[in-house]
């Protein structure tokens, strides 16, 4: 036998100017990619919140021992898509509502549709997110797609939605544990926090109307199972107890809207979104104005200074309506500032880039 000709892989010299020293981190990213990451994160958060809404209702229904005692209609109201529901469903029993919220792939705001959108967005930016994050999201998608509501028991469904939450937490944890804190992560975090703030406020809105017996009751101690269920749906029951102990409506509202340290309160989420936005601004080039920053800061301050007693007097629903409107405006400003091609193309070329002819 002749001697091995190619026994060893040829040594490979990396032909790079920057090998001698490390080149500085480049934080800028394609605006299309930033937008997809932002929406990926929003849609996963949206899906998780749907699972939370359903999960807490199932728990409650199981406790009450009656499958269809009328607690399922409010879940349709949360979506604001009653019209679609009435067109496609005839009854308001739990299986129909769960089918609608979780598994109806024709309904654009269902859990499966949200996951599909999250995954499609992720698929367009696979190169920009850690593989682990993509794989986890992909697994979550296949997990939900492989499940059907028909024929399932409430216990089985409860377990399913718990698992969806766990999958989502795993995704979120991987995002945080494996992705460098460049613009990509900050756009994802901003999307996640904006969506979470929105969903917490929506939940409060609907439950407030359904659960509040009389306006005069807002400040009396109640031990309504449903209010604790509401807190549990945002995993906030224990944290609430640590802060306030007894449950009153005003305190629950204070906790969900304004608690400075509870990670699902509207105020906390806006604070996180704002921090990410500031990091993005710091990494990038100076802009003369930044409407996203202006609007988000203003909304955060609005919550910082809010007095819950007065808010309740003036109408909780009116407050939340206004909050969601302003949140949408922040979203629109983020789009204009970072994703809108027509706006971005107006930013002048940095000198030195175009002048090297």
């Amino acid at each position: 036998m002749p001697e091995s000709r190619l026994a060893q892989p040829e040594p490979f010299e990396f032909d790079s100017e920057s090998q001698a020293g490390f080149s500085p981190h480049s934080f800028t990213m394609l605006s299309r990619v930033a937008e997809s990451i932002y929406w990926m994160a929003r849609y996963v958060e949206r899906a998780e919140n749907i699972a939370r809404f359903i999960d807490v209702n199932i728990t409650f229904t199981l406790d009450a021992g009656d499958n269809d005692f009328g607690q399922w209609e409010p879940l349709i109201q949360i979506t604001g898509d009653e019209e679609y529901y009435d067109e496609h469903y005839t009854t308001h029993d739990h299986l129909s509502v769960i089918q609608f919220l979780a598994f109806d792939s024709k309904y654009v705001n269902s859990l499966i549709s949200s996951l599909n959108m999250a995954r499609e967005n992720a698929r367009t930016v696979r190169e920009a997110i850690p593989s682990e994050v993509w794989e986890q999201l992909n697994e979550l998608y296949h997990f939900v797609r492989g499940t059907k509501a028909s024929g399932a028991t409430l216990e089985g469904l409860a377990e399913f939605f718990q698992k969806v939450k766990q999958h989502s937490h795993l995704y979120s944890g991987l995002l945080d544990a494996t992705m460098s804190r460049g613009d990509g992560w900050h756009f994802a975090n901003m999307g996640r926090m904006m969506e979470r703030a929105d969903k917490t406020s929506r939940l409060l809105d609907v439950k407030y109307y359904t659960l509040l017996p009389k306006v005069s009751d807002v400040n009396t101690t109640i031990d309504d199972l449903q209010w604790s269920a509401l807190l549990r749906s945002v995993s906030g029951f224990e944290m609430y107890r640590k802060r306030f102990h007894a449950i009153t409506v005003q305190r629950v509202a204070e906790f969900l809207v304004r608690d400075p340290v509870f990670p699902r309160s509207c105020r906390f989420c806006l604070g996180q979104a704002l921090e990410s936005l500031r990091a993005i601004i710091e990494n990038g080039q100076a802009r003369e104005t930044n409407s996203a920053l202006e609007k988000l800061t203003a909304l955060k301050i609005h919550l910082d200074e809010l007095d819950m007693r007065t808010t309740i007097d003036c109408g909780m629903h009116e407050f939340i309506d206004d909050f969601q409107l302003r949140l949408n405006e922040v979203g629109a400003a983020i789009f204009e500032t970072y994703f809108d091609r027509a706006q971005l193309d107006l930013i002048p070329l940095v000198s030195g880039q175009s002048q090297s002819q």
Partner: protein, 494 residues
């Protein structure tokens, strides 16, 4: 049968890559065959199923053209590797280096002085009349004189045991991501087998690719920005584009992310424009620049070719390289090698009849039942007639097509592709394979040790394309002579 092993494997009337005859493995494959024979009953199948699951979880899928729902499919992967010994690989590698060097010289010549045409080695009209000949590329001077930076050449083994070149793919050859992922899966699934056999690594491909691309950057750029340009998520090879960008650590851009301003190419970032220096484009010439090529293209970047001509951006592969993988031009590659390099071809072509030449056309029309007819510009197994398997009606249709446009057709004898054992139900059967190695042309010509072994999963089928029932296998180029493997056999069983 309760165990998946090779005890009753039948090579049939074919050249088998792993078995010399009957149950007698080739020396290079002995260790792998022993390893699999010694697995516990059901174990092999269990591991193959784990691989299928992993592929779905990893989302390594491709989109099927013509399917309205954009259904994703797994590109099936069979765990029995194709094994290439060191001696054969050095032969293949030398042949590919030679061929790519000659093809690059050819492209450089036809868009430049056209000496090979003046000397009558190739009929002028065959070149300048080809669909893939780009008149706008005449006079272009690509950086470092390189046109075909990334090539995937299709090789087959005929029943005579020889390796032949079937096709040159010099436009946007795909599949290399599967080579890397297949190896990853094999290492995960059969770690002991792979380390005991000693296989040359393929994992540094992205680094070589990145280095090749940086080498093309305009001279005055110190730290070039390299990007991968994809047609987008609905392209069947999107996964690969994304994978390569990720592995190289560069941006994956779409046409709409790029814009030409003041003679340079920029990408749209969240902070406005950022200059781009090198584009690994996975978009065909036709769609690259609507100002230079097809004006209805929505995928490309208006003005890109102009920037390229000015030398302010590099494109890989260069526009116009398609002329060298026209199937008619293919027939002349052996002459090119002699003409430009003065050497005999190391890897032979498959006999090819050029329908444009009257005598050869007559032969083709008279022997359609024995030949494979291919359109000069189609890829992916489309526009093809496999004479012996076709109906008389299909053959008549192709006879008319050939008479109407002889320039567009070539014919080749029906080849008997070699086979590799492949899991079929509960046991192994031989399935036909080809091999696509990848060649990078930067500072020098580098050949990835291995390549994509495509396998026709349907019994008796010779069509290996993923769109038509093909799958893939890992390709193991041995790191040492197989004689030395036998002495380490005991490590396989620990």
């Amino acid at each position: 049968m309760n165990s998946t092993d090779f005890s009753d494997y039948d090579v049939g009337a074919f050249f088998d890559e792993l078995f010399a005859s009957g149950a007698q493995p080739r020396a290079a494959a002995q260790a792998v065959v022993d390893f699999i024979n010694d697995l516990a009953p059901g174990e092999y199948k269990r591991r193959q199923e784990a691989v299928d699951q992993a592929l779905l979880k990893l989302g390594i899928t491709f989109t099927v053209y013509g399917d309205e729902q954009g259904t994703e499919k797994i590109f099936p992967f069979d765990c029995i590797p194709r094994i290439v010994d060191t001696f054969e690989w050095s032969h293949i590698e030398a042949g590919l280096r030679q061929r790519i060097t000659a093809l690059n010289a050819f492209i450089n010549d036809v868009y430049g002085p056209q000496e090979i045409l003046k000397d009558g080695i190739i009929p002028r009209e065959l070149v300048t009349g080809a669909k893939s000949y780009r008149k706008v590329c005449e006079g272009l001077k690509p950086p470092r004189g390189i046109w075909c930076h990334i090539t995937g050449t299709d090789l087959i083994r005929h029943s005579d045991g020889g390796i032949y070149v079937l096709e040159d793919n010099l436009r946007c050859p795909s599949g290399v991501s599967y080579v890397l992922q297949n190896r990853l899966l094999m290492r995960r699934t059969f770690p002991k087998m792979i380390s005991a056999v000693g296989v040359r690594p393929v994992d540094d491909y992205p680094l070589h690719l990145y280095s090749t691309l940086r080498f093309l950057a305009p001279d005055d750029v110190v730290d070039p920005t390299v990007v991968v340009l994809t047609p987008g998520i609905y392209n069947s090879a999107y996964y690969e584009h994304s994978f390569l960008a990720q592995q190289m650590g560069v941006e994956l851009v779409e046409g709409r992310d790029l814009v030409v301003r003041d003679g340079f190419v920029y990408m749209r970032t969240t902070d406005g424009f950022e200059k781009v220096d090198v584009i690994y484009r996975r978009i065909d010439d036709d769609f690259l620049d609507p100002e230079a090529f097809r004006s209805d293209s929505m995928l490309g970047v208006p003005g890109l070719l102009d920037v390229y001509r000015r030398g302010n951006v590099a494109l890989a592969n260069a526009p116009g390289t398609g002329i060298a993988d026209d199937k008619v031009i293919y027939a002349f590659v052996p002459q090119m090698i002699k003409y430009y390099l003065g050497t005999e071809p190391i890897l032979p072509n498959v006999d090819t009849y050029v329908c444009e030449v009257e005598e050869q056309r007559k032969y083709v029309l008279a022997n359609l039942d024995k030949l494979v007819v291919k359109a000069a510009n189609e890829a992916g197994g489309y526009g093809m007639l496999i004479g012996p398997h076709a109906t008389q009606e299909e053959r008549n249709k192709f006879a008319e097509l050939i008479k109407a446009d002889p320039r567009n057709y070539i014919a080749q004898p029906t080849l008997s592709l070699s086979r590799v054992p492949t899991l079929t139900g509960d046991h192994f059967e031989g399935r036909h394979v080809d091999l696509r190695p990848y060649i990078l042309y930067g500072k020098d010509v580098w050949v990835l040790p291995g390549g994509l072994t495509r396998v026709a999963l349907r019994k008796g089928s010779l069509v290996v394309n993923s769109s038509q029932g093909g799958g893939s296998k890992d390709t193991w180029v041995l790191a040492r002579e197989f004689d030395s493997v036998t002495s380490t056999d005991e490590t396989l069983y620990t």
